[in-house]
């Protein structure tokens, strides 16, 4: 069972909610029971109603975030570290949002969350509003990797893999997809290609999976260069401190 939270109230949330709708359809086609909280339904009240009544194992959201907060419709708080993040206990959560892996992620894991996939810094997207969201060739490169990761998430859960394997499978699918997009833009004949590379690399290298074992660190960083190693090293080193601080 999966719960999707898709606020839609300004340009970015309109774009990302459009892409996450494809993941909703993918989950349904694979046979998962889905709760799709979209637009005015993407509120804390609706979200916690679904959690308390149906206890979905998978939670996905596409929205704005800060270090300790994920926001719902119209920028109202949906989940806040040390306020209501115990609701993620026993669940896996994919948070397409800025920065939340730096505080809310570790906080929710310390309260029994199984996996938290998210971003340590801002998630950056280049958009062309002259296109509908799903036909925007720039935004596609940033958001398609998320769909690839979610597809692996659904399929891995249906295959019954363990938590650590699930965390790794989804992480690797997202990074591979980002790498494919990066390879494409390295040769794309457009003035914006260089900026696309800058932000695709940034989004790839600040994406992390967090479990009770810490931040998953790939055994060999063959695809990423120094920034990802640095981020993961810093993240792995600071996670115990963050957890300790949150438990005080």
């Amino acid at each position: 069972m999966a719960c999707f939270v898709r606020p839609d109230y300004e340009v970015l949330t309109h774009w990302v909610s459009s892409y996450l709708k494809l993941a909703v359809e993918s989950a349904q086609s694979l046979g998962l029971q889905v709760f799709d909280l979209y637009g005015s339904q993407a509120t804390a009240e609706s979200f916690f109603n679904v959690l308390s009544q149906f206890n979905p194992y998978i939670v996905c959201s596409s929205t704005h975030g800060l270090e300790n907060v994920v926001y719902g419709q119209d920028g109202t708080p949906l989940l806040t570290g040390c306020v209501n993040d115990q609701a993620l206990s026993g669940k896996v959560y994919f948070a397409l949002a800025c920065r939340t892996a730096s505080a809310l992620g570790p906080s929710s894991i310390s309260k029994g969350g199984l996996i938290y996939w998210g971003w340590l810094e801002d998630f950056i997207v280049i958009m062309d509003e002259s296109y509908p969201p799903l036909q925007d060739p720039y935004a596609y490169s940033f958001l398609h990797p998320i769909l690839d990761g979610l597809d692996v998430l659904f399929r891995s859960i249906l295959a019954g893999v363990d938590v650590q394997t699930l965390a790794r499978n989804v992480y690797e699918a997202v990074v591979k997809s980002f790498n494919d997009e990066i390879a494409y833009w390295r040769t794309a004949p457009t003035a914006t290609a260089s900026q696309m590379l800058t932000y695709l690399i940034h989004d790839r290298d600040t994406f992390v999976p967090i479990t009770a074992a810490g931040i998953y660190t790939p055994p060999a960083m063959v695809t990423a260069q120094f920034p990802l190693q640095a981020f993961l090293a810093v993240g792995a080193a600071t996670l115990p401190l963050a957890l300790k601080g949150l438990m005080k």
């Binding site: 774009w15 950056i124 003035a191 914006t192 260089s194 800058t198 940034h202």
Partner: protein, 81 residues
Amino acid sequence: MSAQYIDWATARKLVLSRLTQWVQSLPAAERMLKISWGTYLLSPDDMIRHVTILDDLGRQIVAAELNKISQEVGITYIIAG
């Protein structure tokens, strides 16, 4: 890859040069692109303005751009101060 310590003024100069070059090379259609950065929705010119005044967002832009510049030139730039 060697490492080099630089201050914010030098980092800003490096990034402004790169961003200005990018904006000047943009055809009209690509000048309309928007960059979603946190809660900001920026035009290419907005990015240059934030980097120029080096506010909080400008510093984040500098850090991300410098990361890419580092990879291109093979020098790990570390902003000190």
